[in-house]
Subunit: 67 residues, 2 copies
DNA sequence: CTGAAATGTCAAGCTTGCTTTCCATAGCGT
DNA sequence: ACGCTATGGAAAGCAAGCTTGACATTTCAG
């Protein structure tokens, strides 16, 4: 699963740390998502979508092969 | 987080077991989601949305309180 | 070039999502 | 009542998401 987090964050001129604080997660979590080390929980996906004013589908690109 | 899984499944006249098979998860997973024992992973949420021809936001209702 | 800020990344530990197995309960046709 | 089918739900175990803490690397202003 790919995502547009880094792009969206930079568009808004935010640091990973600031975005993390806004979402109440750790900076490492944001970095890990941007770099594809793992996928977000659905809760966090909703938080991100709400924060950016987009839908989950706008931010995360589902790819068939779950791996 | 609430969801409309049971409603959607029944609309389509499916058993939990059939839906589970279509999504390649266990019957217990479907039952647990319908009864709110836990939230789906984002992968499974995407699978469900695709299966029902809806968006994740159509199926899952995000509630602030992460509990 | 130098230093500070931002990001990358790892490790250990806890929590949550999902599996399999198993048993209990509910509903329904006969 | 009986038996069958669908669903509910618990337990144990593994995988994935997230945390804190620490350290390496990149980036960029001066």
């Amino acid at each position: 699963m790919k995502n547009r987090l880094e792009e969206l964050r930079k568009q808004r001129g935010l640091r990973q740390e600031e975005l993390a604080a806004a979402l109440e997660v750790s900076r490492q979590t944001i970095g890990s998502l941007e770099n594809g080390r793992y996928n977000p929980s659905i809760q966090l996906a909703f938080k991100l979508a709400k924060y950016f004013g987009l839908t989950i589908e706008d931010i995360f690109i589902y790819e068939e092969a779950p791996k």
